[in-house]
């Protein structure tokens, strides 16, 4: 103890754990200031009647009670968000897996194709693509013109129909399969060739090899992708905010966009904060459920 106190400043800094703290300081401060503190504030506001302009007034669990008993839009956005996440995430994973399998064989052009297929993940969530998407599916947009070119004359309003509008957002989400694809690719490469050789010797065809060898060994990766993408799916915002604004008739109103509307358009900021915490609870619950099912289908042994 005494010895420690007598350290020079330089020696103090040279201790490994101190250096570690100092190097992580920029992140730590940022994390505390911009994550933990705002979260604490948001938790407090969720129990308040708060409209940004005037100081918050504590109102107990009113916001939560209203949400569950007296807000049909809340339930509608829950429905829309679940539909979006539960449809788009599995579709995206299937798509990512198929493309990963195709790109597994290395040829000269593989690098190019991998980059090309990854591109939508980088740009797909951006405002520019959202605007482009809206134009593409317009009544006089590219899609209808292409349909016209192959003989299906139509001026169908893809985004204006309550049945189809949500699918435009789902397709956009599925198109951004790049990051899942990369994860699949890397774990596909780790499957030992000896397993396939053994399977071939045993007389399994390609299809059987996929089902009996590839897929079981991929389940940890599928699980990882599923959890991460599910969280992203529930938090989707830009697509809805830019492309549809929830139209038509709230059929595409995502939970996060509704939260934004309540907070910053109707100035029910306390209610918006409460919505955020309920979403957190929902996502945590889903993640827990996914983890609980893990032991039934995720292969956990070695190769």
């Amino acid at each position: 103890m005494n010895k420690k106190k007598n350290l020079t400043f330089k020696q103090f800094l040279d201790q490994e754990h101190i250096a570690g703290y100092i190097f992580s300081l920029p992140f730590t401060i940022g994390f505390l200031m911009f994550m933990i503190v705002p979260m604490g504030i948001s938790l407090y506001y969720s129990f308040c009647d708060y409209n940004i302009l005037t100081p918050a007034v504590f109102s107990g669990a009113d916001n939560y009670v209203k949400m569950f008993t007296d807000d049909p839009t809340f339930w509608q956005t829950i429905g829309v968000t679940f539909y979006f996440a539960l449809v788009s995430v599995p579709l995206r994973l299937i798509f990512a897996l198929i493309v990963a399998l195709i790109l597994l064989k290395t040829t000269k052009a593989t690098g190019f194709y991998r980059a090309a297929y990854y591109l939508p993940s980088i740009i797909g969530g951006s405002v520019a693509v959202a605007v482009l998407w809206r134009r593409m599916w317009a009544t006089d947009g590219v899609i209808n013109h292409l349909l016209g070119a192959i003989g299906i004359e139509t001026s169908f309003a893809w985004l204006g129909n309550t049945k189809t509008a949500i699918w435009m957002l789902i397709i956009l989400a599925v198109w951004q399969f790049g990051s899942s694809m990369l994860v699949f690719l890397s774990s596909l490469k780790q499957i030992p060739a000896s397993l396939y050789e053994a399977a071939t010797v045993d007389g399994a065809n390609k299809w059987q090899q996929f089902w009996k060898v590839t897929l079981p060994l991929l389940t940890p990766t599928i699980f990882f992708n599923l959890v991460m993408q599910m969280i992203n799916g529930f938090l989707a915002f830009t697509q809805c905010y830019i492309i549809t604004q929830g139209r038509p008739m709230n059929s595409t109103l995502f939970y996060t966009v509704y939260m934004y509307q309540q907070s910053f358009e109707f100035y029910n900021t306390g209610y918006g904060a409460a919505l955020a915490w309920v979403m957190l609870a929902i996502i945590s619950l889903i993640t827990l459920v996914l983890f609980a099912t893990k032991k039934f289908w995720v292969y956990d042994g070695g190769f």
């Binding site: 948001s42 302009l53 309003a157 985004l159 129909n161 938090l235 038509p248 910053f264 109707f266 904060a273």
Partner: protein, 449 residues
Amino acid sequence: MKKAALFMACALAVTALAGCSSSSSTAETTAAAGGATEAAGGSEGGEVNMIMTWWGNQVRNERTQQALDLYAEQNPGVHIEGQFSEWSDYWNKLATSAAGQAMPDLLQMDYMYVDQYVKSGLLLDLTPYIEDGTLDTSNISENTMASGTVDGGVYAICAGINSPALLYNKTLTDSLGIEIKDNMTMDEFFALSKQIYEQSGVKTNVAYGIGESWSAYFVRGLGFSCFTEDGTGMGGSAEEWVPFFEVYTKGLEEGWLIDPGVFAEISVGSVEQEPLVYGSTPETQSWCAFYNSNQLGAMQNAAPEGMEIGITTWPSYDPVKSNYLKSSQFFSVGATTAYPEEAVKVLDFLTNSSDANNILLGERGVPANSVIAEEITPQLSEQDQEVTRFINEVVTPNCSPIDPPQPDGSNEVYDLLNRTVEQVCYGQLDAQTAANTFYEGAVEIMSAK
């Protein structure tokens, strides 16, 4: 291992969510920081640094900044920084600055928000400055002053007068040999829409998605106002709201109402994408648009070559009761400003100085100061002169005083209104059910405030 992964996933969910919900607090911090530097700048001997904020278009940004620069030139030691944004961003930003106790010194205000901001104590009462002569309002009409008055105090000075105006495709109506007359009634409007649809296939957009002013305007014609006088409840009754929704059901029946699907593809309320000037086929076009008089110039600019835009009043069952003059926007002074006196002087400059208005040229609407308005008229573009004529000769003789400022909760009521209209346009509600749903919902929203 399993536990670690579970923890990581949860942590990610938490941080991602916090990312969403924390944006307001971050903005607050920056706003507060801005306020602090501003105060620090002020303490240096004699220097006055102020911030003025507004929303609007490029023309407005340039002209306003020029006028402010001119003021700074004439008053050494005064610096005014202009900050501008789009309409919806503007209100988010202003609200967060208010929460951070860092209201701008001078700001542009809207009728929709005046009440809320005054009740929250965020605007400076200008009455003492009017009394001591710092702010000259002698050339502004009583009606116009009244629109910026809340509970006996003057909190907002009109930055330009406009009125609701139906902008229409004059080239189309001329080619069909139809003459559009001012102050048309609803029945004339129905007949006109039907005739235009039958002869040209061009449809009609009845303020879809932007029903705020339109609904208030419409019910004035029926003899009641959207909100009660004291701003605590809804005017009229469910039964009395039925005719409003019947406009849409009638349009659906007769075929002239534009398909609501069109609006999924555009930014509703944006002049450039209004079906009047934007649509590529008759079914996606509208012959008219429900806008304001000061937007004629913008709409004409957005129109394809060879399309002339005309201006007339919105239809109503009783045009004289419905029509009103309004301040397209106001100038206000933030309650927390360090230089109230200086800020009011700038306000006076923008309102009463010929120099300033020769730069601004009525871009915000016809100037409230009638002497100035007359002075700048010859310098205006053809459209702006047409707007001035419209305000002075068509609306002024045929109008009634404007409704009181919209109360707290009106944003939500109008959102409900627009969503209900949407359901009617999609054929899911008849007028009676729509009126009941809307009225009940609106009463509930207002009673919660």
